[in-house]
């Protein structure tokens, strides 16, 4: 071995030899494999599959009746995708909690282009998007979101007028 090697043993002890191998390798690599398996487990079922993202269905009777060029939600689609939950909850708070009945704008949403809409999930949104399973639920399920809209709201197309 290296002649220059000196240690606290002075002149008369050679450098202790450590055999090149894994010590307690059994435990260490078992632990490593268990860890990696646990990490991989949730992903394994889908490896190699192509999972298409949900496609929002717009083929409801009401939308079909609108001319293609006029098909436009109350806000731009991109914005709606990210923020619709915020809008709906604002509507709810406005209508149910904060605003007095009959106060101006209380029940109406003014879009940037000046158009006014009745602030109502059932009557406005679902007027067009009457296909809850295909439009709402698909995406919500995809990202595992469980909105509590449907705890109160009717899902079938009952109109405000009828409710009155």
């Amino acid at each position: 071995m290296d002649e220059k090697y000196k240690n606290e043993f002075g002149a008369f002890a050679p450098r202790p030899q450590v055999e090149k191998k894994f010590y307690n390798g059994k435990y260490i690599f078992a632990g490593l494999i268990v860890f990696l398996a646990m990490v991989a487990l949730p992903f394994l079922p889908n490896v190699g599959k192509t999972i298409p993202p949900p496609v929002r269905q717009l083929d409801t009777p009401v939308i079909q009746k609108i001319a293609e060029k006029d098909r436009q939600c109350i806000m731009p689609t991109e914005w709606m995708r990210a923020n619709h939950m915020q809008m709906l909850i604002d509507w709810r708070d406005n209508v149910v909690r904060t605003n007095e009945k009959g106060a101006p704008n209380g029940r109406y949403f003014k879009a940037p282009d000046g158009q006014k809409f009745l602030a109502s999930l059932t009557n406005t949104c679902m007027e067009c998007h009457s296909n809850k399973e295909k439009f709402c639920d698909q995406c919500h399920n995809y990202v595992a979101v469980a909105p509590n809209c449907w705890g109160c709201h009717l899902t079938e197309g009952k109109k405000l007028a009828e409710a009155k």
Partner: protein, 548 residues
């Protein structure tokens, strides 16, 4: 010798505020009283340690070998290969600081480099610089620094301000053990010729003659015979120790502190009385005359060299098993290292069985060595010992768990069981719970630094222990500190003399010796230290007057 400041100067002077300069830029302050002298070349030559040379700490030049850097780095690499602990402890510290206010040296000195985490960083910074790519590239910002002579001096200063007590390891969320790093760091220092004189002298003496104090066989015998005579004078009981006797059933090994000086010697008198009482067939050995192991404070190699004598002697004498006296680091070595040092089953010895009670010490079936407290507790439990606890009525005791037996072995109940049997009820109180058992504080002078030139440091390091003793002294009138450690018996009296002189130090077996009732003994009016027993104070005074 440097003058040690008075307690009333020392304690208020402690500040835990770190200096403004970063720790890499602060050099150690080698103030007299805070460091141990480097080893005299003679000792190193005795044991064949490298680069013996007369060195002086205040000198700028420490006389390191030319290629010292290479030696240290190669030594570090070698130890990383041999000790997984070192690799892991170097890699995983998150510097959470949980260990910081656990170290008695930090509490006593306020020096931030005595926080175990930073003491470890002193080594780690070099590891990062030479063994980690990031440290090599980024340097200081990655916590890495060059291995300079200043770094070596810093290591020497701070690695000998660690008593390997493991209190930090207890509180570390990953069990990082500064003791392990300190030991290996000291090995690195030793490999370039840096050792401390106190430890090295003890090691060389032990290696050469048989015990740390360098007693020749005849001196060893003299000392113990003298203590046997003392026993006879005080108790009227003839205790007849034998030496190097072949065919004895038990080899008794105890640290030299127990026969060398008070108050350890009183504990040895206790051993002699106890063995006489039960008629144990035992022998001392003048060759394996040392239970303690200062070698282990220097290197694993030296620890093994000194320790090897015990089994070798047991084999030569043909004993059945080994009984070990009260000692802290001796038992840490015996418990955690001795069978591994030996490397194979110790077949020439038998599984220890108490010849008096027939109890089989199954927990020592590989080690073949029994702790005196286990042995005594078993005797008491089986009703083999007849005590008069009133003979210890002048002792109001608190018990100091020695760091090594606490965190390197786990012996807590046996000494307490013995204490409760040899002391009158109510004479034993515990110190605050955060300062005993596994959380015990070290005496501040263990691991080979119980020299005299570093007295200020020792008093600082022992401050947390003394502080807890003071608490029970003031609250309950405690006047004795019991322990099962010979190093404690050597260092705590100095410590208590400094901080709280009203308290004495005693071994546990000393109190056993006091309390044992022999059928044909003299009427006892004093304890083994010639102090009057409760109820005999007047007689003692009269004696004293007559003596005058």
């Amino acid at each position: 010798m440097a003058k040690v400041p008075k307690p009333s100067e020392l304690l208020p002077g402690i500040s835990y505020q770190p200096p403004a300069k970063g720790w890499m830029d602060v050099k150690p302050d080698f103030r007299p009283g805070t460091y141990c002298n480097p080893a005299a070349p003679k000792w190193m030559e005795w044991i064949g340690y490298p680069y013996p040379q007369a060195r002086s700490i205040p000198d700028n030049n420490w006389g390191l070998p030319d290629n010292w850097q290479e030696i240290v780095l190669q030594g570090m690499e070698d130890r990383l290969d041999r000790f997984r602990s070192l690799k892991v402890f170097f890699d995983i510290c998150v510097r959470c600081g949980a260990c910081a206010d656990k170290c008695h040296f930090f509490l006593g000195t306020g020096d931030p480099k005595n926080m175990p985490v930073l003491r470890a960083e002193l080594l780690r910074s070099v590891y990062r610089r030479y063994f980690k790519k990031i440290g090599r590239v980024l340097g200081e910002i990655a916590g890495a620094r060059d291995l300079s002579e200043d770094v070596i001096k810093e290591w020497f200063f701070y690695l000998y301000q660690c008593t390997i007590c493991r209190r930090c390891s207890l509180f570390c969320p990953y069990g990082i053990d500064m003791a392990e790093m300190t030991l290996l760091g000291r090995e690195l220092l030793a490999s370039i010729g840096l050792n401390i004189d106190w430890a090295m002298a003890s090691v060389a003496q032990c290696y050469d003659k048989g015990s740390h104090i360098g007693a020749t066989p005849q001196a060893f015998k003299d000392m113990i015979d003298f203590l046997a005579e003392e026993n006879e004078r005080i108790t009227g009981i003839t205790t007849t120790p034998s030496y190097n006797r072949k065919g004895a059933e038990v080899l008794f090994v105890t640290p030299s502190g127990d026969y060398f000086a008070d108050p350890g010697s009183f504990t040895l008198m206790g051993y002699l009385l106890l063995f006489e009482y039960i008629g144990l067939d035992y022998t001392f050995s003048t060759y394996a005359a040392e239970g303690g192991n200062f070698g282990w404070f220097i290197s694993h190699e030296m620890g093994k060299r000194l320790n090897s004598k015990i089994y070798a002697e047991a084999k030569r004498l043909g004993v059945k098993w080994i009984l070990g006296g009260e000692c802290g680091h001796m038992w840490r070595v015996c418990n955690q290292y001795m069978p591994t040092y030996y490397g194979e089953p110790v077949n020439f010895l038998e599984e220890p069985v108490s010849p008096i009670t027939g109890t089989r010490f199954e927990n020592a079936k590989v080690h073949k060595m029994v702790h005196i407290s286990e042995f005594t507790a078993d005797l008491i439990k089986n009703g083999k010992l007849n005590f008069d606890p009133q003979r210890n009525a002048h002792i109001k005791l608190t018990f100091h768990d020695s760091c090594n037996t606490a965190r390197g072995m786990g012996i807590f109940e046996e000494p307490r069981y013995i204490i409760n049997n040899v002391l009158p009820e109510g004479n034993f109180v515990e110190m605050p719970p955060n300062t005993i058992r596994e959380k015990t504080f070290c005496c501040g002078s263990s691991s080979g630094i119980n020299a005299s030139e570093n007295m200020e440091l020792r008093m600082q390091g022992g401050m947390p222990r003394a502080n807890a003793v003071r608490f029970v002294h003031e609250k309950y009138g405690v006047n004795h500190l019991g322990c099962i450690c010979a190093l404690d018996r050597a260092t705590l009296p100095t410590l208590l003399e400094y901080w709280i002189p009203e308290v004495d130090v005693t071994g546990i077996t000393e109190m056993v010796g006091n309390a044992l009732i022999f059928p044909d003994e003299l009427e006892r009016t004093t304890d083994l230290r010639d102090r009057p027993l409760v109820g005999f104070e007047e007689a003692a005074e009269e004696d004293a007057e007559e003596g005058e």
